[in-house]
């Protein structure tokens, strides 16, 4: 029994929305980052499901690239969060508001 592609899309949408929700509500930079990772993985679900649906490998390969890039993003992000902590003594993203308007 194969699962219809619509369900995968629904699943990925759900994951994406959960990630988005996290982005909007989380104030901890690390959790923010994780939420973004969730959104990226939602895209990966899509890519792999569609690759399966369309019967080509493009999506799967692209999913690999996405993962690699997500990792790189996390690496840079963690670096920034570290200096954030060093400067603001906190990883709360709502703390740095010296620049506005």
């Amino acid at each position: 029994m194969t699962v219809a592609v619509e369900y995968y899309v629904l699943l990925s949408m759900a994951v994406f929305c959960i990630g988005l929700m996290g982005v909007l509500t989380r104030r901890n930079a690390l959790l923010f980052l994780m939420s973004v990772e969730l959104m990226l993985n939602a895209a990966n679900i899509n890519l792999i499901a569609f690759a399966f649906y369309h019967g080509n490998l493009t999506g799967q390969v692209f999913a690999l690239f996405t993962m690699a890039l997500a990792a790189a993003e996390v690496a840079v992000g963690l670096g920034i969060i570290l200096v954030l902590y060093r400067n603001f003594r906190d990883v709360d993203v709502t703390v740095p508001t010296t620049m506005r308007w």
């Binding site: 993203v93 709502t94 506005r100 308007w101």
Partner: protein, 681 residues
């Protein structure tokens, strides 16, 4: 017959460039040069004169020149007659008319430069480099205006001429009156030029061309449009030609000091007399009439425009002549006579007498230059006294000045056989024959004829008061001597004033059946011509009927006799009243009219009232409107913008989570909007 770039014509640009070079030299090195810049000016104008004569001779040899030298803008347009592109360029048009005018202008300019040596240098004026630089620029502008081959170029140099006149009239800028006169001249002529500019734009946008000559000219385009019955901007083609023609005429009326924009000219006497000679005889004022002659083919298409030109001319001739009668200042008399004489030229042009108008333009250039320079000589003699009542008896003390001045006066008054007679008579004859069929023209003719009497009167009043009788002041008894640089130009011009009329002896030609109307042949393309710019062609285009009293010859003789009789009557009246040892003012005889005339018919007053009583309140209202409504709106807009700005930038809260929320909200709004637009839901 249109020549190409080869031959003498390739040197044509130099005619205008010489004075320009003189301008630069005087401006830059004037202070160091001997004579403070007079020398380059004299050499430049002499060179211009030689080149002009060369051009004249070449045209006489049957060649003409029409060449675009530099195209500075061209582009696609949509015009009323369907032309699809328009080019604005600088080009030269040398045909009989412009060749003639080049000679006149450069000759007068040359003589004025020479005269200035005596009038300005010897009198120890300061600021001479500025004076000669302005003269150079002025001559340059006028010469370039003369051989401009298109309306826009003409307009540009027309304006430059106006600017130079401002500089020259206001030369003695430390006095109170000169700057104000300069300003007035500038503003009044500028008022006319507004209409001119609108006219240029109208013509350009209607026909897609501003060229004077050739198949591509706006004259030809207008002719075609009238023949085809095209509707231009919602008007019948002929009506539109009339409208645009009259707009351009606005500039002419301003520059040529026609009623009602003549008021600047008497005031312009505040400039040095040499400048008056240059401005009023051959250049700036002549520019207006010359422009009418230049685009005569265009006016010929519209009888209405011609009638207006003729009527304005006739009216101005009489109107100014009456005012000249009561003036005491020698230059003021000449100023009003100038206005009056240009009225004649306009009258001549307006009745289709192209040759007559140009003829009078030429004669007037010489005799009026003569009279102004002569009056300049008198002013030098009198130690800068200009009031004629303080003169008298100069005849014996300065014979050369007297006789040359007398020649000019005879020409101005129109006494046979001096030049003014022939041309004025021809103008009046042309007016008469048209007037016999057209009542409006007849009225113009009548005014012109009446003005002849006044002309004779004021001219000889001036001569008698200045030169005859007993000296009335001490300076008149012991006048200052004048040098060769003053006498020589007077003699040259005196000869010309006496003799130049012989180039077109129309009445004698008719009576004796001789072919001696050389000027007519010249303008009719007997020698060289540009297609469509000949008298013959114009004559066919002018739609006026002509009538005669008896035969043509009878009419001519009648007209000539009438005008000569009136001139002599005027002269005789002046003789009886003023050619006595102790002349009286005789002003009481005029009664209330005297006050009116002395005040120039209150022309200045009503124009000042127009400016102050009408325009100023209007301007105040506009200013109020501008400050309250417009500025309010502008300030409101900027205030709202800045307020909006302070509001817009508040979105940037500095909280990154808010940004994320706003991004998502913005994205969803875009999604919903486009989804609704694209019909997804």
């Amino acid at each position: 017959m249109v020549g190409t770039g080869a031959g003498p014509f390739s040197y044509a640009p130099a005619i205008a460039l010489f004075p320009l070079a003189a301008f630069v030299i005087s401006l830059v090195f004037g202070r160091q040069l001997p004579k403070k810049g007079a020398i380059p000016g004299i050499f430049a104008t002499a060179a211009s004169l030689l080149f002009s004569l060369w051009m004249f001779a070449t045209v006489a040899g049957g060649e003409t020149y029409h060449e675009t030298l530099y195209e500075w803008s061209a582009g696609a347009v949509t015009t009323e007659v369907g032309a699809e592109e328009i080019a604005f360029s600088f080009g030269l048009l040398i045909d009989p008319l412009s060749a003639l005018m080049l000679v006149i202008v450069s000759l007068v300019a040359f003589l004025v430069h020479v005269f200035s040596l005596g009038y300005m240098n010897d009198e120890g004026e300061t600021g001479l480099p500025r004076y000669y630089a302005s003269l150079g620029l002025f001559t340059f502008s006028m010469l370039a205006f003369v051989y401009a081959d298109n309306l826009l170029m003409a307009f540009m140099f027309f304006e430059l001429v106006g600017l130079c006149s401002y500089l020259l009239i206001g030369f003695w800028f430390r006095t109170k009156s000169a700057p104000s006169a300069a300003k007035k001249a500038f503003l009044v002529t500028r008022f006319g030029d507004y209409f001119f500019l609108i006219g240029v734009v109208a013509i350009a946008s209607t026909f897609g061309t501003v060229a004077f000559a050739g198949e591509e000219s706006f004259v030809v385009a207008a002719e075609t449009a009238i023949e085809d019955g095209t509707t231009l901007f919602g008007f019948d083609a002929q009506t539109w030609v009339t409208i645009t023609g009259l707009l351009v005429l606005g500039g002419v009326i301003g520059k040529s000091a026609q009623f009602p924009l003549h008021t600047w000219l008497p005031d312009a006497m505040e400039g040095p007399t040499t400048v008056s000679a240059l401005i009023h005889a051959a250049t700036m004022v002549a520019a207006g009439v010359y422009l009418v002659a230049r685009m005569f083919g265009y006016y010929a298409l519209s009888p209405t425009a011609l009638s207006i030109i003729a009527f304005v001319g006739g009216f101005t001739a009489l109107f100014a002549a009456t005012m000249g009668v009561v003036k005491d200042d020698i230059k003021q008399v000449l100023a009003y006579s100038t206005i009056s004489q240009y009225g004649y030229m306009m009258l001549g042009m307006g009745v289709g007498g192209y040759v007559a108008g140009v003829f009078h333009l030429m004669n007037h250039a010489f005799f009026k230059a003569l009279l102004f320079l002569g009056s300049g000589a008198v002013i030098v003699l009198m130690h800068h006294e200009q009031d004629m009542w303080k003169m008298g008896g100069l005849k014996d003390k300065a014979p050369i000045t007297y006789y040359t001045f007398l020649a000019g006066a005879l020409a101005l008054a129109g006494i046979v056989p001096f030049s003014g007679f022939w041309s004025k008579d021809e103008v009046l004859f042309d007016a008469l024959i048209v007037g016999l069929e057209e009542p409006v023209i007849l009225a113009a003719y009548a005014m012109g004829l009446l003005a002849v009497f006044f002309t004779g009167f004021y001219t000889f009043r001036m001569v008698f008061l200045t030169f005859h009788g007993e000296p009335r002041t001490e300076t008149a008894e012991d006048p200052h001597g004048v040098g060769w640089s003053i006498k020589a130009p007077l003699v040259v011009l005196g000869l010309l004033a006496a003799l130049v009329g012989f180039v077109n002896l129309a009445p004698i030609a008719k009576v004796a059946g001789m072919d001696i109307t050389f000027l007519e042949y010249w303008l009719d393309g007997e020698y060289g011509y540009v297609e469509g710019l000949t008298y013959h062609h114009y004559h066919e285009m002018v739609a006026f009927e002509e009538g005669y009293i008896g035969s043509e010859t009878t009419t001519m003789l009648l007209s000539a006799g009438l005008s000569l009789g009136l001139a002599l009557a005027g002269a005789f009246a002046a003789h009886t009243l003023y050619n006595v040892p102790e002349p009286k003012r005789h002003t009481t005889k005029l009664g209330g009219a005297y006050t009116v005339l002395r005040n120039n018919y209150y022309q200045d007053e009503y124009q000042v009232w127009l400016a102050e009583g009408l325009t100023l309140p209007l301007a105040r209202t506009a200013d109020l409107f501008d400050r309250s409504v417009i500025d309010g709106a502008v300030d409101g807009v900027s205030g709202a913008s800045l307020f909006g700005s302070s509001w817009v930038k508040r979105i940037q809260t500095g909280l990154v989570t808010n940004y994320a929320a706003l991004i998502v909200a913005g994205f969803i709004a875009l999604l919903l909007g486009l989804g609704l637009y694209g019909g997804w839901f």
